[in-house]
Amino acid sequence: MPAGDTHVVFDHVSVDYGGKPALVDVSVAIPRHRIFAIIGPARSGKTTLLKCINRTIEFVPRARVRGTVTIDGEDVFAARDAGALRRRIGMVFPLPVGLPLSVYDNVAYAPRIAGVRNRAELDDVVERCLRQAVLWDEVKDRLDLLGTRLSGGQQQRLTIARALSHQPEILCLNRFSIAIDPLTTMKIEDVLLDLKSRLTIVVVASQVQQARRLADRVMFLNAGRVVEAGDTEAMFSEHPQSPLTYEYVRGHFG
C-alpha cells in the first residue's frame, strides 16, 4: 500500500473514565509510513488516544469508548483477537520498563508469546531489534544481564527494541525521551526517521520542538479535543488555523 495514504482512522471517538471525559469527539486520519506527532498539555488525552489504537484501553477500569477506530479499514474494537491486533502495533511508554528478565528475554518475549521457539530465529530478532534501538553495541556481550540492571536510558532503548520485536506495522511512542539524555534522544530520533520507510509512527512528543524535528503531520490536543491537525510546516507557521496552536507551539501557553 502506498505511503501517505490513510492507515489509522479515528472517527468521532470519545472516551471517558467513569464519566470523566478524556477524549471528546476526536476524528483524525493518521497517514501510512509517516511520522505523526501529537502535542498538547498534560491531561489532554494523548495517552488515552494511544491506548485506543492497540485497545489496551480495555484494561483501564471503568473506561468507556464510543466511536470507531480503524486500522486499514478494520474496526479495532470489533477485532475478535486483541492479541493479534496488538501484535501489529509496537508501544513505547514514557518511563522505561525493563522487564525483570534478561536483556535477551526482554526482546524475545513478544516472539515467544506469539509461539516462536526456534533459537536461531529468536537470536536474529534480538540482534535486529537491539541494533535498531541503538543498544546492541552496549549489551551484545551481556545479553543475559537482567534488563532491570541497565541504566534508565538503556532500559528505554530496550523498551523500544521490545516494541519492534514483533515486527509491528505501527509504532507508538509515548513521550519516549523524558528519561533519556539528549544524545541518545537524537540517536533514537534518527532511527525513527529511518524506520518510517517501513512503519507508521505515532509519537506523543516530549517537547513541541521534537514534533517539529520529526513529524510530517502534527495534531494538537487540548482537554481531550482536537484543536487542530495539519502538516508540520503549517502548524509551526505564522498562521495556523487556530490562534491557540500559535500560542502553544511558541510556548505562550500550556
Partner: protein
C-alpha cells in the same frame, strides 16, 4: 579575629534531637522485647524435656496408655492433615487470589468475595471445628477422619492464603503487565510469564506460614478427626503409616493436651518433649519459608 561558630544547635534543634533519641530508644526496646520470651519459652521447654529427648521419641509409637514410648503416631497424624489441608487450600486459594487481583473488575462480586474472605479469617477456630462436624463429618459423610479434619483446616487457612496471594500479586508493578499486554500477551500469558514468577516468593511464604497454623491448631481437628488414642500395630507398614484417609488419627497438639491433662502417670519430660516436637515442627517449617523467600528475593528483580 575569633572563629565564627555557626554549627551550634539552638533550642529547637536540641529538643528535636532529644525526641529523636527517645523515639529510637523506645523503638529499640519494642523491637527487642520479642526475643526474650521466645528464647525463654524454647529454653525452658528444652531443659524440662531433656531426659525424654531421644531419637526413639520420634520414631516409636506411644505405649502403655501413652505414658511411655514415642510420638510417631501423633506426628504422622499432624503431618497428614497439614499436607492434605494445604493440598486443598493452596490451589483453591492461589487461583482465587489470581482471579481477584488479575481478572475481577471492581464490582459487587469482588467486594462480596473480599467481604467473605475477611469474615472467614475472623471466625474463631473452634467455630471452624463445629462447622467441620456439620459439613464434613455428618453432611458429607466423611466421618471423623483425616479427610474431614483436613477439609476443616483447609477452610480455616483459605482466607489467609487468598489474602497473601492477592497482596503478592498486587506488589508486581502494573507497568510489567502493560508491557506484556502491549506486545499481544493475553491476561493468562501475562500472569503465567510475568506476574506469577515475580509474586512466587510472597505466595509461597503465605502458604508456608499456614502450615504452622494448621499444625498448631487443636480446636478444628478436635471434633472432626483427632482422637484420644489409636492402637497402632508394632510391625509392618502400618507402624509407619498408621492412618488411611478415612481413619481417625492422633495429632501432636491434641496429644499434648491429652497427656498433660487427661492421662495420669505421664512423666513431665514426655509432656515437655511433645511440646518441643510440636514447636520444632513449626519452627522448621518457618525456617523453610524464610529460606524460600530469601532464595527468590536474592534474584533481585527490580
Amino acid at each position: 579575629m575569633t572563629a565564627r561558630v555557626s554549627f551550634v544547635a539552638g533550642a529547637v534543634e536540641r529538643r528535636k534531637q532529644a525526641i529523636d533519641r527517645l523515639a529510637r530508644a523506645f523503638g529499640f526496646a519494642a523491637a527487642t522485647l520479642l526475643i526474650a520470651p521466645l528464647v525463654a519459652v524454647i529454653g525452658y521447654l528444652l531443659v524440662q524435656a531433656w531426659p525424654a529427648l531421644t531419637w526413639s521419641l520420634v520414631v516409636e509409637n506411644p505405649a502403655r496408655f501413652m505414658t511411655a514410648g514415642g510420638l510417631w503416631a501423633p506426628l504422622v497424624g499432624t503431618i497428614d492433615v497439614v499436607v492434605f489441608s494445604l493440598a486443598i487450600a493452596a490451589p483453591v486459594g492461589v487461583l482465587a487470589g489470581i482471579y481477584l487481583n488479575e481478572y475481577a473488575r471492581d464490582g459487587w462480586l469482588k467486594r462480596l468475595v473480599q467481604l467473605a474472605v475477611m469474615n472467614l479469617a475472623g471466625i474463631p477456630s473452634i467455630v471452624h471445628g463445629l462447622f467441620g462436624v456439620g459439613a464434613f463429618v455428618l453432611a458429607a459423610g466423611f466421618g471423623r477422619s483425616v479427610l474431614a479434619a483436613s477439609c476443616t483446616l483447609a477452610i480455616m487457612t483459605l482466607p489467609v492464603i487468598i489474602t497473601s496471594t492477592t497482596e503478592a500479586l498486587a506488589s508486581v508493578p502494573m507497568a510489567f503487565r502493560e508491557a506484556c499486554w502491549n506486545v499481544g500477551a493475553s491476561r493468562w500469558q501475562t500472569v503465567r510469564t510475568m506476574v506469577l514468577p515475580n509474586a512466587m516468593g510472597g505466595i509461597l511464604t503465605g502458604i508456608i506460614l499456614q502450615v504452622s497454623r494448621a499444625a498448631g491448631e487443636t480446636a478444628p481437628i478436635l471434633f472432626t478427626g483427632a482422637v484420644f488414642y489409636v492402637a497402632i500395630p508394632d510391625r509392618g507398614l502400618a507402624a509407619f503409616f498408621p492412618y488411611g484417609i478415612r481413619d481417625p488419627f492422633m495429632a501432636l497438639s491434641y496429644h499434648l493436651f491429652v497427656i498433660s491433662s487427661q492421662v495420669t502417670g505421664v512423666s513431665d519430660s514426655l509432656q515437655y518433649a511433645t511440646a518441643v516436637l510440636l514447636v520444632l515442627l513449626v519452627l522448621s517449617v518457618n525456617a523453610v519459608s524464610i529460606a524460600v523467600r530469601y532464595r527468590l528475593r536474592s534474584r533481585a528483580r527490580w
